[in-house]
């Protein structure tokens, strides 16, 4: 079903396809609205999030401001979804990077094979002889 983003009774409502937007990104986005707006996330149907923000009573908006807010919310949802993609795709590299940075060499790769001199003597064996 097609939903249209709208402003209804002072509430800014945006719909997001669950196959395109992650739940994390929606909450991370709404986090920044919490000081001035009531925020809400629910399902419009199985495949669609309904995301809404409504100004607190102390924060009345003009029509123009509401239009701007709708645009901002739409844009922020896209931004946070993209950020979330980067975060999730790069989580492993990031963990590896930080582990390497603080590891004092434990995570550095050793050259493959035994340590030996170019002539092929096995140093470990020589030491034991």
């Amino acid at each position: 079903m097609q939903y249209k983003n709208e402003i209804k009774n002072d509430e800014i409502i945006v719909f997001a396809d669950t196959s395109l937007y992650s739940k994390d990104s929606i909450f991370k986005c709404l986090y920044w609205y919490g000081d001035k707006y009531h925020t809400n996330v629910s399902f419009a149907d199985n495949n669609t999030y309904r995301v809404s923000v409504k100004p607190l009573s102390t924060n009345q908006l003009s029509q123009e401001e509401q239009q701007y807010l709708l645009l901002k919310l739409e844009r922020d949802l896209v931004d946070y979804n993209l950020r979330d993609i980067v975060t999730k795709e790069t989580q492993n590299v990031r963990d590896l990077l930080i582990a390497k940075a603080f590891s004092n060499g434990e995570f550095d790769e050793l050259p493959p094979g035994d340590v030996s001199d170019p002539l092929g003597f096995n140093i470990n064996q020589l030491k034991n002889d």
Binding site: K28, Y31, W32, Y33, G34, D35, K36, V78, D79, Y80, L82, R83, I85, V86, T87, E89, T90, V93, R94, L96, L97, I98, K100, A101, F102, D108
Partner: protein, 498 residues
């Protein structure tokens, strides 16, 4: 029937279209973060603080793999060279990146360097914004005892840091100058024995400074740090001294101190108050006129404000306007050939433009409290930061780590320290975790607690966040729009790493 496809697959050489001539390159993303700088520019910053400024929509194209290797050759090259993307799942140079990350967090290697001794709470000033003044006479009650000084020195030398700094604060520290002398001489002896570096600083309003004190400072290589809020009408309004001008005493003190100790052994710090906000240019001019090499435009003190109100947000906006006007003025001096810095900008710029970091308590992650600074209060209490002991003056002991009678491990690694450690890395805080400026900014649990009532903090209405985010954004906007400013900023950043 001959299966042509299968046949081809079995050949030694593959068809030419099997090779990587795709215009749409296959690449892997590396960790980085994104922020909008202006209406038409956006920024991406990687894990070690390198940034690329891009035109709007580029971030989306990068993430959606819409770059064209030929048409976007420059951008593609930049992204690869600066570790934003990689053509292999794990970049071949990941060890280089790891070393750079380590360099950015090098301040963690040394542990606590700055040890603040609140040598006396007594003060002869009655500044209206100061919570700690107005206890004047009783020496026994408000001076640090010799026994506590001994214990403080003992703890200081247990720090693994090869170079420790001992800073005497007040109240007015010079009211307890005899105790300072005792502390300095004892610390010098031990530093020599154990082979540690020792820097000594006296923080004073200089009203009581005289040649005798300064000769002692000279002999013992003690630095002087004083307070100067701007021109006389600002300073004297902020700092009330009965029957005298605090400004005149400070200026006289600065001149005398420079004469005896040398010009660069004396520094000054300003406190921004509501009154200061109306005089950005005059305050900068005053510092310039007095021959300082820069000024630190510090945020208006949050203590006493209650956040989650529009008031503090409004105050922060006013501070930002003040800051930008003052910075403009500072840049004017630089345009005309002078070297004159703004020190908050200098801290950010060092992080933005160099491979290094700055050990500045409020702008580190993990935070600088305990890791970088510790405070020994006059009464033997040990606090995480200077602001923490100010809170204690309002009977809030949240950041009291213990007393000088406790052992080192309990103070620095005990329950309280662990509780604070849960919230001292901005990498793991809501809001900050996805913020492009994470590497440039820091975490300040004490500020969060003081202004928002909990250490974790709430970024959307945090004045700390609002201020840092806007100043960092503004600095980048400035230098990217004017190459002269970029040169000046590069010079500031460079000089702070020497």
């Amino acid at each position: 029937m001959i299966n042509e496809k299968a046949d081809k697959r079995s050949r030694k050489f593959r068809e030419i279209d099997q090779f990587d001539l795709n215009e749409q390159p296959q690449y892997y993303l590396l960790p980085f973060r994104f922020h909008r700088i202006t209406d038409d520019k956006e920024i991406i910053v990687n894990e070690v603080g390198d940034y690329l400024l891009l035109s709007n929509g580029t971030f989306e194209r990068i993430v959606k793999r819409q770059l064209d290797k030929k048409k976007d050759a420059d951008l593609y090259g930049d992204l690869i060279a600066n570790f934003f993307i990689s053509e292999e799942p794990i970049p071949p140079l990941i060890d280089v990146l790891a070393t750079r990350y380590r360099t950015k967090k090098l301040f963690l290697n040394y542990f606590t360097g700055l040890h603040i001794f609140v040598i006396s709470l007594r003060c002869e000033h009655t500044c209206h914004y100061c919570q700690v003044s107005r206890v004047t006479q009783n020496k026994d009650l408000y001076d640090m005892s010799i026994a506590n000084i001994d214990k403080g020195i003992d703890i200081m030398f247990k720090s693994p840091n090869p170079h420790v700094t001992m800073e005497f604060q007040g109240g007015e520290s010079l009211l307890a100058f005899d105790n300072i002398k005792y502390a300095v001489e004892k610390a010098e002896r031990i530093a020599k024995e154990v082979g540690k570096g020792l820097t000594k600083v006296i923080c004073s309003n200089l009203a009581l400074i005289n040649e005798e004190i300064l000769e002692y400072c000279k002999e013992h290589e003690i630095l002087i740090s004083t307070s100067l809020d701007g021109p006389q009408y600002v300073h004297d309004n902020n700092r009330h001294k009965p029957h005298a001008s605090s400004y005149e005493l400070a200026i006289k003190g600065i001149e005398l101190s420079r004469k005896v100790l040398g010009h660069d052994r004396v520094s000054a710090l300003m406190t921004t108050t509501k009154l200061s906000l109306d005089y950005p240019v005059e305050i900068v001019d005053e510092y310039f006129r007095l021959g300082f090499q820069g000024i630190f435009l510090r945020n208006i003190s949050p203590y006493g404000f209650a956040l989650r109100t529009d008031k503090s947000k409004y105050e922060t906006e006013k501070f930002l306007t003040f800051y930008k006007k003052a910075l403009d003025r500072i840049l004017e001096y630089n345009f005309s050939g002078h070297y004159f810095t703004e020190d908050l900008a200098k801290i950010f710029l060092t992080k933005i433009l160099t491979p290094f970091n700055v050990g500045f308590v409020d702008l580190q992650s993990p935070a600088g409290l305990i890791n970088g600074v510790i405070v020994f209060n006059y009464d033997g209490g040990v606090y995480a930061t200077d602001e923490s002991r100010m809170l204690a003056e309002q009977k809030d002991y949240t950041f009291k780590l213990g007393t000088l009678d406790d052992n080192y491990n309990d103070l620095f690694f005990g329950k309280k320290a662990q509780e604070i450690a849960n919230v001292w890395a901005n990498e793991a805080l809501s809001g900050c975790s996805e913020c492009a400026f994470q590497q440039y900014c820091g975490a300040d649990p004490v500020h969060n607690h003081a202004t928002q009532g909990d250490m974790y903090g709430y970024r959307p209405n945090s004045d700390f966040c609002q201020k840092n985010m806007e100043i960092i954004r503004y600095l980048i906007e400035l230098m990217e729009s004017d190459s002269r400013i970029k040169k000046i900023f590069e010079r500031w950043a460079k000089t702070s790493t020497h």
